[in-house]
């Protein structure tokens, strides 16, 4: 069996703490005035919650986000029990009440911040693979594995690569080291250091990121082999040279967060730099048309694909569409038009700005689209010749694995990259100065709260942690390669389709009642 040794390809994780001085954790450790600064807690805690630097008279404030919480009570190093002055307490962090939502629960956010900081899976009892949405991926579990299937091999011996060109048409074989790449995020919707940081991370991870509809800033050039150029309906910043730069060109017909509508960039975010690259007017809202006004049929669509192929003879072509009821027919049409990658963006996908009515109500969630497209392409006998990518509400490593088991070859990730950069999903990215946390902002001050190195390493760390989860999963089922997981829906169960007795064998998703 062909396996790819990834040991030398994947980068190392480097501890990269949050940009903010008070990181948020599941537990809150408090030290009260009874503390005599004896330093015992700092000596005891193996997780680095308590620190008393040499020469300091008092310990630093507890680093609560590293605390494993009440699960520590049984340990002989449990600080609360050992403190001679009973000065320490550990409680659930009340902040969690105001954090997260049904899809990205507080624990999922905290879990991903931890991965982005350390490159490791969290030690704290966090449910970071299941949300509280009550449907879709949150209802699916991987079947309880048979112990006899377990494959005792190292992570380095497990192949997580993804081949983007399966057409055998003489164009390059583009192989990524991970079964995922970064979704389109434009300069304008997101800060420049963020998107350049993503490109740097993609280069180190041997995967890709995408320009989105905001043009191709020159800062991308050093990483050009890992940057997809998006050609969207507004054609902002699309030029011959930006097509020629790209190993993959993506036609964005539609986006999951606003299917059937064009891109939105509200006027406040159109700064002089953004306007220059998009060749438009400062402060003017940019609503892209829907769809391409030059495409009225599959034949017109093929003309587009041919045009790109002519301009860049080495480019692979990706078609990004949303998930209408006839998604399967769209997939077949795109294949016959010459696409290498068919990318479906489901209706609960991320966005920099979209009407709320569109986010929730238009087109089907990706969980429903993947199996029907996979099945239809198989029936048409062309499944092995296309790379089927899924996105839209794929939040974590297990969602990605479930999407692959349902039939996708790989997934496209957007929101999780931003969560790695300390996004809390407050949803205020769309207007004014944009994101208060400096991620989805082009404000001269906020847009530079992040530097490229930080963005790069946090994203690299998160994907390294995801890869650990994937390797763990594949080993359990005796699989050596992520490709073997594609379409293995027999490894999945859905809680709503199980008898009560069967259901009780699987972990329940958190049932938080949230105020959204």
């Amino acid at each position: 069996m062909n396996t790819i040794k990834t040991k030398n390809i994947l980068p190392e994780s480097v501890n990269t703490p949050s940009r903010f001085r008070n990181p948020i954790g599941k537990y809150l450790v408090k030290r009260n005035s009874r503390c005599a600064a004896c330093g015992l807690c700092a000596e005891l805690c193996p997780y680095g919650v308590h620190i008393k630097p040499e020469g300091y008279s008092r310990p630093l404030p507890p680093r609560s986000h590293l605390c494993i919480g009440t699960a520590c009570a049984g340990n002989d190093f449990y600080c609360v029990k050992r403190c001679p002055n009973q000065a320490l307490s550990v409680n659930l962090n009340p902040t969690l009440q105001a954090l997260g939502d049904y899809r990205w629960t507080p624990e999922m956010l905290i879990g991903h911040w931890h991965m982005a900081e350390t490159g490791e899976l969290p030690r704290v009892d966090l449910e970071y693979s299941l949300g509280s949405s009550g449907g879709g991926f949150d209802k699916m579990r991987f079947r309880i594995p048979d112990a006899a299937d377990y494959l005792d091999i190292n992570d380095e011996d497990i192949d997580t690569s993804l081949n983007l060109n399966r057409r055998g048409d003489g164009r390059p074989q583009k192989v990524l080291s991970l079964p995922c790449y970064g979704g389109g995020m434009s300069f304008g919707s997101t800060a420049l250091p963020v998107i350049v940081g993503r490109a740097r991370a993609a280069t180190r991870l041997n995967t890709m990121t995408c320009t989105g509809e905001g043009g191709y800033p020159p800062e991308f050039l050093p990483y050009a082999e890992h940057v997809v150029t998006q050609v969207a309906t507004g054609l902002f910043g699309v030029r011959e040279e930006t097509i020629q730069n790209a190993p993959v060109v993506e036609f964005k017909y539609a986006q999951g967060a606003k299917p059937g509508l064009g891109g939105h960039l509200l006027g406040d975010k159109v700064t002089p730099e953004v306007a220059a690259i998009r060749e438009t007017v400062v402060g003017s809202s940019l609503f892209s048309p829907f769809p391409f006004h030059s495409v009225y049929s599959v034949e017109d669509h093929k003309k587009h694909v041919d045009w790109i192929k002519e301009i860049n003879p080495r480019a692979l072509v990706s078609i990004k569409v949303s998930t209408p009821s006839d998604a399967d027919m769209v997939a077949v049409g795109s294949y016959y038009a010459g696409a290498h990658i068919i990318h479906f963006d489901g209706s609960y996908g991320g966005t920099g700005a979209a009407p709320d009515i569109a986010k929730k109500n238009i087109a089907m969630p990706i969980e429903y689209a993947i199996p029907r497209i996979h099945r239809f392409l198989k029936e048409e006998g062309i499944r092995d010749q296309v790379c089927l990518m899924a996105s839209g509400g794929i939040r974590n490593a297990m969602d990605a694995a479930k999407a692959i088991a349902l039939g996708a070859d790989g997934v496209v990730i957007g929101t999780a990259d931003l969560v790695a950069l300390d996004c809390i999903r407050c949803g205020k990215c769309e207007s004014g100065r944009g994101c208060a946390r400096g991620i989805a902002s082009t404000d001269p001050e906020l847009g530079y709260m992040i530097n490229e190195e930080y963005a790069e390493q946090r994203i690299v760390n998160m994907y390294l942690a995801w890869r650990k989860q994937w390797c763990q999963l594949l080993r359990q089922y005796g699989l050596r390669s992520m490709k073997e997981l594609v379409g293995r829906s027999d490894l999945l169960v859905n809680m709503d389709y199980l008898d009560e007795a069967e259901r009780s064998k699987y972990p329940e998703a958190p049932k938080n009642k949230l105020v959204i």
Binding site: F20, R21, N22, I24, T95, Q97, A98, D101, Y102, R103, S133, G135, G136, K139, A254, P259, G260, L261, F287, P289, F290, P291, F292, V295, Y296, V298, H301, V321, P324, G333, S347, Y348, T351, A353, D356, I357, K359, I362, A363, P365, Y368, P371, L406, T415, C423, I424, C426, G427, K428, C429, E430, S431, R433, A436, A440, L492, N494, D496, Y497, V515
Partner: protein, 468 residues
Amino acid sequence: MPKKYHIETKAAPPRFLAVGKFSTVEFREDCAGSCRQCVKKKCVYNVYKDSYQHVITMDEPEFLYICQSCFRCVQECTKGIFSPVINPEYTLMGDEYWQPEIINQTWFQAHTGRIPVSGAGYRGLFSGAGFDAMWTDMSEIVRPTRDGIHGREYISTSIELSRKPMRLIFDKEGNLPVSLPEIVEIPLPVILQPPAFGVLSQKELLAMAGAAQKLHTLMLIDAKDYSSSFTGFDGTMVPRLDAANYKEYVDIICKSRMVEMVDSSGIEREFATLRGFKPGLLISVGLPLDASAASRALELTGTGVDVLHFYAEDNGRETGSSNPRTLRDMIREIHRKLVDGKVRPTVNLLFSGGIAMAEHMAKAVICGADGVVVDIPMLIALECRLCGRCKRGESCPVDIGDIYVAWGVQRIVNLIGAWHNQLLEVMGACGIREVRRLRGEVGRALFLEDLERESFAPIFGQRKVPCG
């Protein structure tokens, strides 16, 4: 070219500070006081500065209503003295169905007239009951009417309220022997009616009537509430009458375009008398959305009725049932019954109760309604918090009975204007140019049950937990 329908919106700020979702608790005793890096001064949204202004003018208690919960103060304070919380007042608004989020978004729309737009993906539950268990479809690349946001001026949202004959019959000379009913159109699939609670003064009714007039739609009103104040709104008002009392209101009937009769046995026998008072009068029959609604609809269709208006509970559920079905399923049942009876085109169906958001309007039409009747959202547009105090005879926290009528008109117009724009968004995505073509067009929708059956059943087998 005929004039396009356009709803003029204009900012109408709230009279009271809106109840915000987030607040921040400070443990001030832990404040260093002299760190000189106070995060309060750096707040991107100026929450602390504005809050301070409120305190010094003694306007409101010190709550950080406009906090957007970006957590920067929480995470950057050198002493970590801030803790974010959900404003308890926010959670107390509304109920299980009319959730705080709906109320908050309705206020925003009534204030600005704009569509709610936000960043990041959808944040809610995967699906739910009724309208939350369906998605509208979209056209990708190969369908004709695909104008998106730029083609909105070509999308028609007008519906007819007048009954239609199934076919034209001519006499031997080729003339129509009967006169056809006049075609009456409204420019959007919405009419208004005052809710059953919260109307504390005639000012509110006048604001609602004024908005209906400005929107070129209609407003239902109980005949007993139809006072001389509504002179000037005659073409807009639709008096609600019953078989026992309608003869007392002949003067009102004569100046109305349409009346609504409360359903009762043999109500159709009164239609001739009504049209005797005013020839060409449009007649609606109001009936409960209960188990017999579909069969009663079939009985009434063809009796000369123009509109059937079904009343659901305020939470969008069937009335008079211990296991009430949702508006989604009830509309589909009634529509289907009339389609099977081959009479659907002859009558118009309106539904009220639980129409809370713009998406409900679009989805109700897809399920088979011609239009919807909006009630409680108008009250929310006038700043109602659905606290329920008025139902208990207590005072209204926002003095809703004391509004300026012109302000109230603008708030309601703004809300419906934003809803209309959202309907255009959905129709643009659907690739449908006329809302009349959207009626009953379930091929432009995806239903949870169908998706589960088609996508999941081949993988997971038989579903053990019912959908919704």
